[in-house]
Symmetry: C2
Subunit: 345 residues, 2 copies
Amino acid sequence: MSKKVSIVDIANSLNISKTTVSFILNGRAQEKRISEELVARVLKLVKEVGYKPNSLAKSLRTGKSNIIGLMVEDISNPFFANIARLIEDRAYEKGYRIIYCSTDNNSEKTRDLITMFRDRHVDGYIMAPPKEIEENVKELINAGLPVVMFDRYLQGVDTDYVVVDNEFSTYNATKHLMEQGYSKIAFITFSSEQSQMLDRINGYKNALKDSKLKPILKEIEFNRNESLIIEPLTAFLKKNQGIDAILFGTDHIGTCGLKVIKQLGLRVPNDVAVVSFDDYDVFKLYSPPVSAIAQPIEALADNVISLMLKKLDNNAGNNTTQKITLSTNLNIRESSLQHSKAAAE
Amino acid sequence: MSKKVSIVDIANSLNISKTTVSFILNGRAQEKRISEELVARVLKLVKEVGYKPNSLAKSLRTGKSNIIGLMVEDISNPFFANIARLIEDRAYEKGYRIIYCSTDNNSEKTRDLITMFRDRHVDGYIMAPPKEIEENVKELINAGLPVVMFDRYLQGVDTDYVVVDNEFSTYNATKHLMEQGYSKIAFITFSSEQSQMLDRINGYKNALKDSKLKPILKEIEFNRNESLIIEPLTAFLKKNQGIDAILFGTDHIGTCGLKVIKQLGLRVPNDVAVVSFDDYDVFKLYSPPVSAIAQPIEALADNVISLMLKKLDNNAGNNTTQKITLSTNLNIRESSLQHSKAAAE
DNA sequence: TACTCATACTAAACCGATTTATTAAGCAAT
DNA sequence: ATTGCTTAATAAATCGGTTTAGTATGAGTA
C-alpha cells in the first residue's frame, strides 16, 4: 500500500534538500554547520513517519553493507550451529548482520558462494574453508577484504584464524586411553586433507609412537546420508575385533560410531572404550557417559568476531595477521576408564 | 586491485550503449531485435572478462533480490538447524539464497529483523513466528510480500503455513502411555502461547480426559542458559514423586529432562517412562532408547519451500492461502513400554 | 564601497544496474 | 517526395541514497 517513504519525501515535506537530510541522518550536521533548529525538525519528522534509509541504495553508493558472510561446513552440525549462533549474537550487538551458508566442504559450491557474497558487497568473510579455494581467498585479501578463518586454515594463505590445538588434543586423549590400560586404540574419522584433521591424526600417531604402539586409522568418506557412514563403520568394527578403544575425530562420526556400537551390542568401556572429539549432549547423556574433547565454543566465537571487527575498523590500516590457537578440555567420563584384565571381568 | 568491471565498461569496450548490453544479458535480445552478431560479441566479451552484474544495483532498480529471509526460533536447536539446512538446499537449486537469523522468540528482535529484511528487499519471508507480531506480518502481506510460516502460525493472520498435527500427536503419545499402564502422566514443556504448544497441551489433556485422569502440566520458562532450565525441572521432579511417565514438549526440554532424570538416578522406564516431541540422536542413543514423536522434517521443508516458490512465481496472482498439516510418527522405543505392578518389580 | 569570510544550505554527480521513450536508417507503398 | 513501417540501436530517466563542489546571505573590515 503505502509506498515506503524515501529521503526525497522527507526533504520535500520540509522544503529542503535531500543533501541536508542525508547529512543530518549521518551525524554530519555539526561539521556541515546545519542549524540545530533544522536538525530537530528533520529528526522529528523522520521519527514520525518512521523513515528508514534503504540500505541497498546506501550500500551501492558507499560499498559497505554491514553484513558479514559466514561460511560453515554444515549448519545442521551442532558444532557449527552453535558457533554460528554465538557469532550471530556478537555481530548483531555491533550492528552487523550475518548471512550464513553451508559449504558442504564442496570447493565448487564455496567459490559460487564467495562470488555471491562478493557482489552483495558483504563487508567481511568468516569461514571454515574447504580445500582448493586458496586462490579465491587470496583474491579477496588482495581486494582488501577482511577474511577470518576458524576451525581450520589454508596452508600458504596468510590470514587471521582461530583454531584449537588439535594435535595436542588427540595426543592427550590418546595418552589418557593408554594410561587407562588400552593398547589397541583406533582413530576413526572423516577423510579430509584439512589442517585440523591432519593435526588430529598426527597427535594420535605421536602418542602411540611414544609407546611403540601401532596406529589403527580408519578414514570414512563423509556423506549427508547417514547410512553410508554407518555401513563402512560397521564393517570396520566387525573386522577389527582386537580393538579395545576408539577415538572419534568429530561429533558427527562419534555419534554414528555410538549407533554402530549399540547395534553390535558392544559394551562400553568393557568391550571398547570411547573418546570423541567435540562435546555434545549425546555424549553427556549416553550410558555410560562418553569422554570428549570439548572445544571452547564461546571463546572461539568471541575471538573470531573480535578479529573480524578489528579488521573492519581499521580497514585501511596495518595488515599484520593474527593466528590464535585455543586449548581444548578433555572431559573424562566413564566410557574411557580402567581397562585391565582384572577390571574387565 | 582491478576495480570490478561494470556494465558501462563492457559497453564502452564495444562502443555500444549499456542499454544494449543490459537487454542482451537479460535475454531480451530477440524481443528488442538486437542482431545475433552483436549478441555474440557481447556474450563473448562478458565471458572473457568474467563480468557479473552488481546485484545490489540490480535489486535497487528491480526491487527483487533473489533472497529469501528465513527466521527460526534458534538456529542452534537441531530441529530448526535441520529444517534450515533443507530449505537452504532447495532454495539454492532454484537460484534463491537464504538469509537466516534467530528470533529467540523475542518479538522486539523479530520486528527489527523484519525491517532489516525489508530494506534489503528480500523477496519472501519464511518464519516460525513469535507472538505479537501479527501487525507486522499483516503489513508484509498488505505490501504484497510472500509470507510462509511453519512449525506454528498466527491466529487471525491469513497466511500460508505448514505445521504438523500437534494435537493428535500428543493425544496419541499420551494414549500410548496409558495403554502401557501408566496413569500419572506429566506433560513438561516450555511455556508459550504459540499455536503449536497450545495444541500439544490440548492433545495431552484430551487423552487424559477420555480416561478421567488428571493432567499434571509443568511449564518452564525458556532460557538460553541451560542451568536455568535444569533447576526448576529438578525441583519439579523431586516434588512430584508420584509421576510414572513424562511427555516432553520439545527436543530441547526433553534433553534437559533426561539430564535431570539421570542426575536424580531415576530408572527409565521403571521409575518413570519417557516420551518426547521431536526425534533426535540423543533419544535414539539413550539407554534405554527414548520413544519420540518424529516430525517429518524433509516433508516440512519441501512443503515450505514449494509454497514459497509458488508464491514468488505468480507474484501478482491469486491470493488464496494454503494451510498444510502433516502427520507425525510416534517412534515407540523401550523408554515407554510395559508398566504394571508385576512388570515394575 | 568593495572584499573577505563564515554560515547554512543546496545542485548535481555518482554508485551500477533496468526500463521507458526515442531515434536514425532503410525500404516499400502511396 | 512524402508517409509509414521495420529494424537495430540508444539517450535519458529511474531506483534511493552519499558526496563533491558550489552558492546565497549577511557580518566584519580595510
